[in-house]
């Protein structure tokens, strides 16, 4: 009685698992209901990629009925045992981000592929929101400096306009009138450049690793840092001019460097030297997933208080902070770590109490063109 006739020809293989005795009391109809009810999409494909079976969750994910799916050759997207992410375009609905895992098995006596599909659109959307909030938080860490910069600029215009009014009342033809106007225009331009940079920075962008010039990126960011870290922080750049492009999301790199710079400033109590250095990374480095492609190193060093071993051990943990309540969220270094690891790179911190902190980011080189 345990072996009812198969509800669908070919499902014998599914039931011939080692758990047979353990789950002996579950009948075949129940197994079928399991597959039909699970929230994950289940597809059976033959080796040429033609759909042989699709459960309701798979229909939902693809936005096509089972009958339609049965006629669509999907091809064979991934090797057995691997996980792939794909974007599924669906008629009349938003595209779905789908994670697919594949195993080989036999279906109806013939070799086939069993694919499990999971709609991870919500997770991806959440990650994007998280990146956006990390970015805004990094900008927030510079807000005191920005406010000071803008306040300073307002002071300059205030003074300039009062001088201008006085000068025009005395002698409008005096060359000083033009000089005052020119000076204010110059300042308005640099002030505008700063706000443009911030706007570009805070714009919502999808994560897209591209080949970028690390040194150029650091140069453009330094302008923002110089005006926001406060007058007590001197920024020194030691950039290797021969550096090739790296494959990284430029926006996230800015956020990471900004977080490291703000950490450095805080560790130095707002007074000291922040060094940003780039160079080729040695090719025999441990724990780098793609050593063949090669890596570039960027180091942000401060002349601050340094970290104890205890602090160092927890530095990358989300919400870990040495700052007082309300001063730090503890998400700065965890953003840096998350982003660099996700990009196929590695982060190393080199620090001792009293000697300052050096954070090294190893970023994957972009493959040579052509």
């Amino acid at each position: 009685m345990r072996r009812e006739p198969c509800a669908q020809a070919g499902s014998t293989e599914l039931l011939a698992a080692p758990e047979e005795t353990q789950f002996a009391h579950i009948n075949q109809l129940s197994f079928r209901r399991l597959i039909e009810t699970t929230a994950d999409g289940v597809l059976v494909l033959d080796l040429s990629g033609v759909v042989l079976y699709a459960n309701p969750a798979a229909e939902e994910i693809f936005g096509h009925s089972k009958d339609e799916l049965l006629n669509i050759p999907l091809g064979r997207p991934v090797a057995s045992g691997e996980t792939a992410e794909l974007t599924v375009r669906r008629p009349g609905k938003k595209p779905a981000e789908v994670e697919m895992r594949v195993v080989e098995f036999a279906w109806d006596g013939r070799p086939a592929i069993l694919a499990s599909l999971r709609d991870i659109s919500a997770r991806r959307a959440h990650e994007e929101r998280q990146r956006q909030s990390q970015k805004l938080e990094a900008i927030g860490r510079l807000s005191a400096g920005l406010v000071h910069d803008l306040n300073n600029l307002l002071g300059v215009f205030d003074a300039g306009l009062r001088l201008l009014r006085k000068q025009i009342a005395e002698d409008p033809a005096d060359p000083k009138v033009d000089m005052l106007i020119e000076e204010m225009l110059k300042r308005a331009k640099t002030g505008g450049a700063l706000t443009q940079q911030l706007l570009a920075f805070s714009r919502r962008q999808p994560l897209t690793p591209t080949a970028i010039d690390l040194n150029a990126r650091i140069d453009s960011l330094t302008n923002l840092l110089e005006r926001t870290l406060g007058g007590g922080v001197k920024i020194e750049r030691k950039l290797d001019a021969a550096l090739g492009p790296v494959l990284i999301d430029a926006n996230q790199l800015d956020v990471a460097l900004l977080n490291l710079a703000a950490n450095g400033r805080d560790a130095m109590g707002g007074q000291g030297v922040l060094t940003i250095e780039t160079c080729e990374a040695p090719s025999d480095l441990e724990d780098l997933p793609n050593a063949a492609a090669g890596y570039v190193r960027v180091t942000v060093a401060d002349s601050g208080s340094g970290m104890s071993e205890d602090v160092l051990a927890q530095a990358f943990e989300p919400f870990f902070t040495t700052k007082g309540e309300g001063d730090g969220t503890g998400l700065g270094l965890s953003q840096v770590y998350g982003f660099v690891r996700q990009s196929g790179g590695q982060v190393r911190i080199d620090s001792e109490v009293g000697t300052g902190t050096r954070v090294h980011l190893f970023l994957p080189r972009a493959p040579a063109e052509g």
Binding site: H148, N151, L154, A159, G160, L163, M184, G231
Partner: protein, 149 residues
């Protein structure tokens, strides 16, 4: 503005327009500006050669956050009175580095007039005039304030 005597004033400020306006305000109050310095070296050189009575000192200058050190040098080595002029009053050392007061940027010409009035009262030892109300953007060094109120 003959109600004040004439002070020789050194302006230590790296923002050209702000320095120029301060100069113009001080001139219209009958004070004499003996020079404008944008960093420590220039400030101390002018203090040595032009012997000012008062220096209006910004905290953040071309050579960094050197205002407090300049103030200390001017006060102790050159016997100059100092008033800070700053947009970041929270960066003033707690002892004011020996300065009399601070004026918060952006200031108005009226606030500059109050500061000048206060410095003259201090030089004259006129405690009643020193205790006269000041505009909100001006703060007196805590140690001096304690002797007045």
């Amino acid at each position: 503005m003959s109600e004040y005597g004439k002070l020789r004033v050194l302006i230590v400020e790296d923002e050209l327009l702000i320095a120029m306006e301060l100069e113009s305000c001080l001139a219209s109050l009958g004070q004499e500006v003996i020079g404008i310095a944008a960093e420590s070296g220039e400030a101390l050189e002018l203090a040595r050669t032009a012997s000012p009575d008062l220096a209006m000192v910004d905290l953040h200058l071309r050579d960094g956050c050197t205002g407090p050190q300049i103030a200390a040098d001017l006060i102790h080595r050159h016997k100059v009175l100092v008033v800070f002029s700053t947009g970041t009053p929270h960066h003033i050392p707690s002892d004011y580095a020996g300065a009399l007061a601070a004026i918060i940027k952006p200031w108005s010409p009226e606030a500059v007039e109050h500061v000048v009035r206060f410095v003259h009262a201090y030089r004259a030892g006129d405690r009643t005039a020193m205790a006269a109300p000041l505009l909100p953007g001006i703060s007196i060094a805590p140690s001096l304030r304690a002797t007045l109120f």
